[in-house]
């Protein structure tokens, strides 16, 4: 039984990201805001890849991305590719920035978020038949960036006592 709970504890980041992916529209995007203006999944992904990189493997990121693509009607493989690039980019940025403080972390998150939104937009533009609303992506990026400190604080609080 203890072994089971330890395993469950290990997979909490996966479960959390999966729940956010499956319920993205139920969370902030519908109850608080009028539309898709916050990207919770990227915040969670960045946080766990930054602080606990050994807990989320590339394979799980690939499958989580596929789940998201299937649910959101986006081209298959788009989000998986974005997730894998995110994890590699975070690894690279973390290696480069030796001083660990909030400022550096926030800049890293900004770089990751902008890169990922540009990559996702390019893939969506070339591989999807739907049209893109660029203003929506810009608003989404800015508000996700603005919300990061708050969510980071909440996640750190839970990580200290729960995860």
């Amino acid at each position: 039984m203890r072994n089971f709970f330890e395993k469950l504890r290990f997979y909490i980041p996966h479960l959390l990201i999966l729940l956010v992916i499956a319920n993205d529209s139920l969370l902030i995007n519908t109850w608080i805001a009028p539309g898709p203006i916050i990207n919770l999944k990227y915040i969670l992904l960045f946080y766990f890849c930054f602080y606990q990189p050994d807990r989320i493997s590339v394979i799980s990121l690939f499958f989580l991305g596929l789940v998201f693509d299937s649910l959101q009607c986006t081209p298959f493989g788009m989000t998986s590719l974005c997730f894998i690039v995110v994890s590699k980019l975070i690894y690279f940025l973390k290696k480069r920035r030796t001083r660990a403080n909030f400022q550096n972390e926030f800049i890293s998150f900004g770089i990751v978020l902008v890169t990922i939104q540009i990559l996702a937009s390019i893939i969506f533009y070339y591989f999807s038949k739907s049209s893109l609303e660029y203003s929506l992506i810009i608003v989404n990026t800015i508000l996700t960036l603005a919300l990061y400190p708050l969510l980071r604080y909440i996640l750190q609080f839970f990580c200290r006592y729960q995860i």
């Binding site: 394979i59 649910l71 009607c73 493989g77 591989f127 739907s130 929506l136």
Partner: protein, 285 residues
């Protein structure tokens, strides 16, 4: 003993091997698979489509099961709050009055419908094809910066096809964007990629309704001299030959700025995130 066997003999060696495998083989392989999937997306081959539909169905229904406890909790809270409504008798009286009013309006409407059909017959105007409604359950709503959609519980097994309109109480909600075996995806009218031909009968104006990606839509290609009023009703015009004509979409809300210039916004005829059952309109053949 070769290098691999030597590395496997110690714990540190195994870890190094694992990391090398992950960095040099696994990550590039997965990136390659992602690109392959993206390329396959645009190839319309039957086995690929079938396989994709299967994956989509499994994921959609799994997400529905994952969401069950959350939906149950939300539903229970809502019904509990409804039971605490102390004005229930007065509300009942108001609703009864509204029902009576609606019945009389319906009878009047039937009279006009018959009159309209007779006039059409006299003038020799043929009706557009007749539609059959298929009632389906909304499994899940999805919102992201790339699209707004919801999944429904019927797919190609029920002859659902891409482009078919989805309505609720004759109010237009969106159109089928993707069909799987046992489920389908509906692109909501507020999706940034949604464009529907509409008509404003009170002004005799045709236009295109475009979703803004949030929870509303905007009018495109309105004639420059058009001046709309508050509460002007918007209906589908059916000029594309796919969406049935005469489906209610919403009403116009007019706001004037400082220079007395009119800005139009649309109050859609349905409320998002409160959809349980909807109907897919299929053309009768």
């Amino acid at each position: 003993m070769n290098a691999t066997k030597l590395a496997k003999s110690s714990a540190v060696g195994t870890a190094v091997l694992e990391r090398t495998f992950r960095q040099k083989i696994l990550t590039p392989a997965l990136i390659g698979i992602c690109f392959l999937l993206l390329i396959l997306e645009n190839i319309s081959s039957r086995p690929i489509k079938f396989f994709k539909s299967l994956i989509n169905d499994v994921i959609t229904y799994s997400a529905f099961i994952i969401n069950l406890p959350i939906n149950f909790t939300t539903g229970t809270t809502k019904s509990f709050l409804e039971t605490l409504n102390f004005n229930i008798h007065q509300e009942n009286k108001i609703l009864k009055d509204q029902i009576n009013k609606l019945i009389s309006e319906k009878n009047e409407l039937l009279f006009f419908k018959n009159e309209n059909d007779n006039l059409k017959k006299t003038l020799g105007i043929r009706n557009q094809g007749e539609y059959a409604a298929l009632l389906v359950k909304v499994i899940k709503e999805d919102t992201s910066e790339f699209g707004k959609s919801f999944s429904i519980s019927k797919g190609s097994s029920e002859n659902i096809d891409i482009g078919q309109p989805v309505v609720r109480n004759n109010v237009y909600l969106g159109r089928i964007a993707e069909v799987n075996l046992l489920s389908s995806k509906v692109m909501i009218v507020t999706d940034a990629g949604s464009r529907i031909p509409i008509i404003i009968p009170s002004k005799g104006v045709n236009a295109i309704l475009k979703g803004n990606g949030y929870s509303s839509a905007e009018l495109l290609f309105l004639p420059p001299s058009t001046s709309l009023d508050n509460n002007d009703q918007i209906y589908t015009s059916g000029t594309d030959g796919i969406i049935k004509e005469g489906l209610y979409v919403g009403k116009v809300i007019v706001k004037e700025d400082k220079n007395k210039k009119k800005n139009y916004s649309i109050d859609l005829g349905y409320k998002e995130h409160q959809l349980n059952y909807v109907s897919v309109l299929k053309l009768k053949r």
